[in-house]
Amino acid sequence: MSEKTQTGGSGLTKHLSLVLAEFASPDALVAAAARVRGAGVKCWDVHTPYPVHGLDGAMGLKPTRLGVFSFIAACTGFLGAVTMIQWMNGYDYPLVVGGKQPDAYTAMVPIIFEISVLLTGLTTVFGLFVICGLPRHHHPLFESERFARVTDDAFFISVEPKSEEEKHRVSELLESCGASYIEHVSDHGGAL
């Protein structure tokens, strides 16, 4: 559940104070991520300008379940299309064209395929948004000026500590991992 706080759309708690640490290289970042995970920190995330290999393993992320949604959508699209076409052309208004059987399956393959693909694509993209809690235009991290470089060439780890004590402990941990910069970001609210 702790992951929800970082990824979910509704996870914004009242007075968030995040610890944000910058790392100089992807190597340092992956190493630090492995240590943060090992230290048993609950609410945390890694921010990179592009997907960094090995980070999922270092963070101990479970494999994504997005594919399951896509697969269900593909099956739904397939069955929905078969039902729709059979009912419309075979039962509700049997249409005989060129003396062909009104409910011939073979002639329906192209449309069944297209509808399955369409539903899979829509579900994949909107499923991605739901799983990631996007769109979310207000996030405490956007308060940090330095964080703007995350979409350029900077690598960050952000931690949401549960108490003041954990905040200090986490800051020390991140420092010992070789963070080149550490900042405490708090969401002042009403800034926008």
Binding site: D56, L66, N89
Partner: protein, 482 residues
């Protein structure tokens, strides 16, 4: 950057030799959208906008007066309209091929050109869609093609290839748009974070959906991208196959051939690559993107053009072989008398233009000097585009213009509406395309960064993990104790 990287595969380090930092990629791509447009951009944009106006005027005229303003006539009921439809939709296929098929084959060089080609796909499909929509004659009734309940209590005929086409093209457009937008999200966030004024920040920020480079998001994002690539690959093959079914399932000689689906798909990729090349060469020099789109990229694309030229050449030869081997004299007549023979066929020049542009001219790419010469590739890409337009013209018009009864034979002449509408779709395509390269990152920033040799951890992740986890475990114990 040296050859000592653990993750570096063969050739990877040479892909972008002039890129020395991650920031350089951001700068090169973003500055296009942040600086005032160069003169070259305006010189292209103003005429494109004028042609777009011409298109709108032509559509208005056509809808008001009727499809009789086109040159289509009784034997040649499909003419420039369907030729242009097939040509434009084929152009789009290179975009999906580059973004999806090359992604599945892990071709890293695609990252410099995929965004560009995907945008082309979307605009080309928009241009293509105009023609069949208007060809119905009463476009305000086009909604009859969708399975919507209506006052006649009838449903569309799902067994008709024309109906398959509706579903294929509209699905193709939707999925291409989704694929393109998904790829854009991280790059729009880059533009958002670099924005100097509130308006830019608000607009890019809105479309970036609050992307913050979270690895928990990247994990799902990469999977979504993979799934989209995996479904786009059969989709792109299906789209031009289904377009070819419009012809292949009929009983017209010259259309009724089983080779059509692969033949159309190969031709689509061929023409699409050629148009990507034409536009890429212009954009690359106008916006000085030499470090990101290198000669190596262009050479690889030229190899694709050579390969697909052989595929279409094979299809042309095969059509003749089958016409001869089948012993069907009607079929032989179409190929020998209606297409090939300069003394018998009124359209012989279109057939020979097709063969020269599509099969003979691309053969220059056997020589590396030709594959890497910018002027040569520009000229060849133009020839291929012309040749592929003629291919569709040959298939459609030469097959139709001579019916089974010589008394029903006829010839097609384009009217000014035909010509102006074709020019007008260039206006639509180019206007949309120029706005795209001006305001949206035309190179996939995050994807290019990902394939830079110094962008990934240099040590094998497994080694890092095991050591670090031990370390981390010790730390955890210490934390718990203290």
């Amino acid at each position: 950057m040296g050859a000592s990287y653990v993750n570096a595969e063969a050739g990877e380090t040479e892909l972008l030799p002039d890129v020395s930092s991650i920031n350089q990629v951001t700068e090169s791509v973003c500055r296009v959208t942040e600086q005032p447009a160069p003169k070259g951009w305006w010189m292209l944009f103003v005429p494109s906008l004028a042609l777009l106006g011409l298109l709108i005027a032509c559509i208005g005229y056509l809808v008001t007066v009727g499809t009789g303003t086109w040159g289509n006539n009784s034997p040649v009921a499909w003419a420039w309209d369907i030729t242009n439809f097939v040509w434009w939709i084929g152009i789009g296929h290179a975009g999906t091929l580059i973004s999806a098929v090359l992604f599945l084959f892990r071709q890293k060089w695609r990252t410099s050109i995929n965004r560009f080609a995907e945008a082309m796909t979307i605009f080309a499909v928009m241009c293509a869609g105009i023609y069949p929509a208007l060809h119905t004659g009463r476009p305000w009734f086009d909604y009859y093609m969708f399975p919507l309940p209506n006052q006649m209590q009838m449903w569309p005929n799902f067994k008709s290839p024309l109906m398959w086409d509706i579903f294929a093209v509209s699905t193709y457009f939707t999925i291409s748009l989704l694929f393109w937008y998904t790829g854009l999200i991280p790059d729009l966030a880059t533009l958002r974070d670099r924005s100097k004024n509130t308006f830019r920040r608000a607009v890019y920020g809105f479309f970036a959906l609050g992307w913050r480079g979270s690895n928990r998001h990247w994990q799902h994002y990469e999977r979504a991208y993979l799934i989209l690539a995996a479904i786009s690959t059969p989709l792109v093959l299906s789209v031009h196959s289904i377009v070819s079914f419009d012809f292949a399932t009929s009983v017209i000689y010259g259309w009724h051939t089983t080779i059509f689906p692969p033949y159309f798909v190969a031709g689509a990729v061929f023409s699409g690559f050629a148009l990507v090349m034409t536009l890429l060469l212009v954009t690359r020099s106008v916006f000085k993107l030499y470090d990101l789109v290198t000669l190596k990229h262009l050479e690889l694309m030229n190899k694709f053009i050579l390969g697909t030229a052989w595929l279409v050449g094979y299809a042309y030869a095969m059509e003749f072989f089958v016409a001869w081997y089948s012993g069907n004299e009607y079929e032989q007549f179409v190929f020998l008398n209606n297409r090939l023979n300069p003394f018998e066929a009124p359209y012989w020049w279109s057939y020979w233009a097709m063969v020269i542009c599509n099969v003979i001219i691309p053969q220059v790419y056997w020589w590396k000097r030709m594959r890497t010469s910018i002027p040569v590739m520009f000229v060849v890409s133009i020839f291929v585009n012309i040749g592929m337009w003629f291919e569709r013209f040959v298939i459609i018009v030469t097959s139709l213009h001579r019916d089974f009864l010589p008394s029903a034979w006829g010839v097609f002449h384009p009217t000014w509406v035909d010509i102006c509408m074709y020019l007008g779709t260039f206006g639509l395509f180019m206007s949309a395309f120029l706005l795209f390269i001006r305001w949206i990152p035309m190179i996939a920033i995050a994807e290019v960064k990902m394939v830079l040799p110094f962008a990934q951890p240099q040590h094998a992740p497994a080694v890092v993990l095991s050591e670090e986890l031990q370390d981390a475990h010790a730390q955890k114990t210490a934390l718990a104790a203290g």
